[in-house]
Symmetry: C2
Subunit: 213 residues, 2 copies
DNA sequence: TAGATTGTTAATCGATTAACAATC
DNA sequence: TAGATTGTTAATCGATTAACAATC
């Protein structure tokens, strides 16, 4: 099956997991077909927008009927790269790191955190949710040996750049960053930030506007 | 000091914490003034964009010199509502909940998680990072008594809507949602989603495009 | 057939970027 | 004064939304 390689906007990519979640719920309920109109209503989106998002995945619908739930589910998963597992290493076994190591749903999204690394000798050697915490010094060789493509960064802000540099040097192709630090990465490497402070900023700004009108 | 209540785009709101972090670093280094040109270079943004973002906070600069680091820091914090603490309750003392309870930096961003709630009696009674886990049934009365405005939702997807409904019924004005579920909320309540799966979708889609060109 | 929905093209809207006068 | 930077207005770009023919 040929991989669909259309380039779409970040906005579209962020909506697709929402649709996927709805589709999985419907599939569990035995629903077989679904229209973009229905999806749009569920999320309060514009139907045309949903249609364009769906189009990007390569799935083709039927006029008057819509899309097969099973078919669309597969196409979205394939498009997001969630139909085969990606192995990942996690750097920084602090609170956020532990939470991610214990997050079982990642499996469903094709993410498999294989091991954790930390430079604190007190943390090394432990097992967190069955995953070993190893010294950072062992990371580069293991990235190469295991062909790891994804590095998850959950270290404090001041160590984030060093962690990222080490991961990229070792051969990692994509960084999922949780540290609140601006990171420099070379051309060709993917950086995706999952900083909670940005989301919090939107929340608290809106809240102050509501509370003090 | 009058609260600045300009409405700005979500994009601007998400960039402001990045600037703030840089400003705090500069302030620690003793730097007193900063130009938008400099900030833009640091993040690879357009200088005009930075100038517009900064303008939204109400801070006024000086031609040829730029902005005072201290003044701009204050104005960004004020604009984001980070200069006075917001008390929050957390529902769902699972892995993600624990991580948030242990995240010390939130204090710096004006977020104070006061207590956690869970419906699992086995989790109730424990203290996580010094914060008590209480039965969900006690939440509504405490929201009212303590005038809690923010509810953080870290329950599994299937319980998210119920948790949100209960929080809003009790009087919470803003929901910070970590559950991968589509949520319905009434007019006037703020919903901010911090779903990791959306960020992961962007990452894995980009990665598959890089790996299979 | 009638009508709901897809697929697609055009219009709108808002954010980003460019241009430039004012200022220190 | 010269020149870097602010503040602001205009142009561009891209995403969202509207319109509508094709289809089952």
């Amino acid at each position: 099956m040929a991989q669909h390689t259309v380039v779409v906007s970040r906005s579209t990519l962020k909506r697709l997991p929402l649709y996927l979640h709805l589709l999985e719920k419907l599939q569990a309920e035995g629903v077989e077909t679904i229209s973009c109109t229905y999806i749009a209503k569920e999320f309060d989106f514009d139907p045309t927008q949903v249609r364009k998002d769906v189009e990007a995945t390569g799935e083709v619908g039927t006029a008057r009927i819509g899309f097969r739930v099973a078919g669309l589910t597969d196409k979205i998963k394939e498009f997001l790269g969630w139909n085969n597992a990606h192995d990942a290493f996690l750097i920084g076994a602090g609170n956020m790191g532990k939470a991610l190591l214990g997050y079982k749903d990642f499996e469903k999204y094709g993410l498999n955190i294989v091991a954790a690394f930390d430079k604190d000798p007190k943390k090394v050697g432990a097992k967190i949710f069955g995953k070993e915490v190893m010294p950072l010094s062992k990371m580069p060789a293991l990235v190469k040996r295991m062909h790891i493509n994804i590095g998850i960064v959950t270290v404090p802000a001041e160590h984030a750049q060093a962690a990222v540099d080490a991961l990229i040097d070792a051969g990692v192709k994509a960084i999922w960053n949780f540290a609140p630090a601006p990171l420099k990465i070379p051309e060709g490497v993917i950086l995706e930030n999952a900083r909670l402070t940005q989301s919090l900023a939107v929340l608290t700004n809106n809240l102050t506007r509501v509370l003090k009108p």
